[in-house]
């Protein structure tokens, strides 16, 4: 598959806007002047060495991390300390974690219907139909009655994706979704993400899967030491990187794979 296989359904509507965002962990300056505009339907891959701030960047978008300076506007609502706004934004922004973070005391289906029932106030029957629909979409409806501890890593991550989708979010954030998986399970998760991208979901994805970036992303962002060093369409990014730092990073990744 090539980049053209994904139909570009990008609209002019701005979903996320980050303006001059700074963040510190104590004295450590993790994010330095991040400026990023994401339009509806965009599929963005963030890459960079560990500690470069890429996870922190996407975690700021649903306020799992708090930025100290600058502005973040998600779907027209600015993120401030206003709890109502934060909760409103979290309802529209799905997140998939490196370590899945499924709720181990609930079955797969209960994991999926929990937020629709308790946050969206959806009747249980309707929520369960929705849950099953998304479990079918990630191809594990037969595991609905099992507990997360009984599934493989790849299956758990697909459940986590289904759980996020059940909230019918406008934006999906992926924080290294395949980094904790055995190699043979990476593909099943990436396939799910590709199909999501094909449906026009706005996605921000922190990943080291450069194949996925080439296939799905319409923009690749390279970060280092808390700054966005370079962003471009995948073809230009991988074939003609502009910055020395990017070239070095890409050469390291390629020699490792």
């Amino acid at each position: 598959m090539t980049a053209s296989a994904v139909t570009p359904g990008i609209t002019d509507k701005v979903m996320i806007e980050m303006k001059g965002v700074h963040k510190w962990y104590g004295q450590f300056h993790v994010l330095k002047d991040i400026n990023l505009t994401v339009q509806q339907g965009e599929r963005i891959v963030l890459c960079g060495p560990s500690g470069s701030g890429k996870s922190t960047t996407i975690r700021c978008i649903n306020r799992l991390e708090e930025h100290q300076q600058g502005q973040i506007i998600v779907d027209g609502t600015e993120l401030t300390s206003n709890v109502k706004h934060i909760e409103a934004i979290r309802r529209e922004v799905g997140m998939v974690f490196q370590h899945f973070n499924l709720f181990p005391h609930l079955t797969v289906l209960e994991n999926c219907v929990l937020a629709p029932i308790w946050v969206r106030k959806m009747p249980r029957r309707e929520a369960e139909a929705l849950g099953m629909k998304y479990l079918e979409r990630v191809k594990i409806p037969d595991q609905a009655k099992k507990y997360p501890g009984q599934l493989s890593g790849g299956q758990q991550q697909r459940v986590a994706i289904a759980r996020s989708l059940c909230m019918q979010p406008k934006i999906m954030l992926f924080d290294e979704p395949t980094s904790a998986l055995d190699p043979e399970m990476v593909k099943e998760v990436l396939d799910t993400m590709v199909s999501l991208a094909e449906d026009g979901m706005t996605m921000l994805c922190v990943t080291h899967e450069m194949g996925f970036a080439k296939q799905v992303a319409n923009r690749v962002i390279f970060m280092d030491r808390g700054e966005i060093i370079e962003q471009n369409d995948p073809q230009t990014f991988f074939n003609h990187p502009q910055n020395e730092r990017t070239k070095l990073f890409l050469s390291q990744i390629i020699s490792n794979h």
């Binding site: 649903n62 306020r63 799992l64 709890v83 909760e87 979290r90 309802r91 922004v93 799905g94 997140m95 974690f97 370590h99 973070n101 499924l102 709720f103 181990p104 005391h105 929990l114 937020a115 308790w118 946050v119 507990y147 997360p148 501890g149 009984q150 759980r163 996020s164 909230m167």
Partner: protein
């Protein structure tokens, strides 16, 4: 390169010496010379201690009769327990009103039974009944006026009935109290956090006996003239606050064991604080600390006997009082054995219930 097909090796049965009775004996009792010697020593000790104990408790014991003359002195004289049983169970509760206690116990057993059985449609109604209706009914039955029955002062309460009342109120009150204190202690809000830390550290730092003594003797001195409330109620409040502090620390341990990812996942789904805690964090944290909570509750159950310091006669204290009765001098051993048995039955039941609960709530792989 030619292709070859791998044929998996078939599964073989384990060697016979490692299975069955022989295998079990070998693995558990006679696995080494030292273990064999310990096994034999253990058997010898059982042989030495068990027969005399059984003789005293059962075979040579006196069971029938109604006064001291029925005791022949070879084994235990259970006549003492039989004669005084009503006092041990109900204290000085008027004899003609004891049906009220019996009814309350019957209601508890019937009302809670569905909770101890496998999943059934009565679970939810039963839980609601025990949680909301039962305390009111029991209160009405014990005191009286609420149901138009004659008043029984709390000073007349005693025996097992008092022990159970204090323990159940202590447990039922300290669990929610402890959970709230634990959540408060982990709050990001500094005032709530400091208040909870102070409460926990204060109540955990004083002995229960002091708490009871203060509630009974000191508190009335600080209250305005004429304002006085029941001694038992004061003791109950003291016990609940005291146990809440312990439960709080147990629960806090559970909260800290929940990975940060669970909090983040709950947040990311848009759950607010009460929902994240109630649906995600607490169910997992409380499951983790069931052993610790039950440990605290068992300790509480036995600590109820400290109410003697404020002149309340619970199970142990009414047995003690009966043992110094001039008519029955010399039968304290029987009394204490009976007390130990009663305490053990209740504590062991709690322990078994908690283990069953843990098994039922286990959802992951056992590795």
């Amino acid at each position: 390169m030619s292709q070859s097909t791998h044929v998996p090796h078939p599964d073989l049965p384990p060697p016979s010496a490692s299975t069955g009775v022989i295998g079990w004996l070998r693995a558990n009792l006679f696995s080494s010379p030292l273990n064999s010697a310990l096994t034999l020593l253990g058997l010898y000790l059982i042989w030495l201690l068990l027969p005399p104990a059984l003789n005293w408790l059962l075979f040579k014991a006196d069971w029938s009769g109604s006064d001291r003359s029925a005791c022949h002195g070879e084994g235990a004289c259970w006549v003492f327990i039989k004669v005084r049983l009503d006092q041990f169970l109900y204290g000085f509760f008027p004899a003609e009103e004891r049906w009220r206690i019996q009814l309350s116990w019957l209601l508890a057993v019937v009302g809670a039974a569905p909770l101890f059985m496998k999943r059934n449609p009565l679970r939810m109604p039963s839980a609601l009944f025990m949680l909301f209706a039962y305390p009111l009914i029991a209160y009405g039955l014990y005191t009286g006026p609420l149901f138009g029955l004659p008043l029984v002062e709390t000073s007349q309460w005693g025996g097992l009935m008092l022990t159970l009342t204090i323990a159940v109120v202590g447990i039922a009150g300290s669990l929610p109290g402890g959970i709230l204190l634990a959540l408060g202690r982990r709050s990001k809000m500094p005032i709530i956090r400091s208040v909870c830390v102070v409460i926990i550290e204060f109540w955990r730092g004083v002995p229960l006996i002091t708490v009871l003594f203060m509630s009974s003797v000191m508190l009335p001195l600080f209250l305005p003239e004429g304002m006085n409330f029941d001694k038992l109620l004061r003791a109950l409040i003291g016990v609940v606050l005291f146990e809440s502090a312990y439960i709080a620390e147990v629960v806090r341990g559970g909260l800290q064991a929940i990975p940060k990812g669970q909090y983040e996942a709950a947040d990311a789904l848009g759950l607010n604080y009460p929902k994240a805690m109630g649906l995600i964090i607490l169910p997992q944290a409380l499951k983790l600390v069931i052993p610790g909570i039950v440990n605290t509750m068992i300790a509480l159950f036995k600590d109820t006997s400290l109410v003697i310091i404020i002149g309340l006669y619970d199970l142990l204290n009414s047995i003690q009082a009966a043992a110094v009765d001039p008519n029955w001098l010399g039968f304290a051993t029987e009394g204490y054995v009976f007390a130990a048995l009663m305490y053990w039955v209740f504590c062991f039941s709690m322990s078994r219930y908690s283990q069953a609960l843990e098994r039922r709530l286990h959802t992951g792989h056992k590795r």
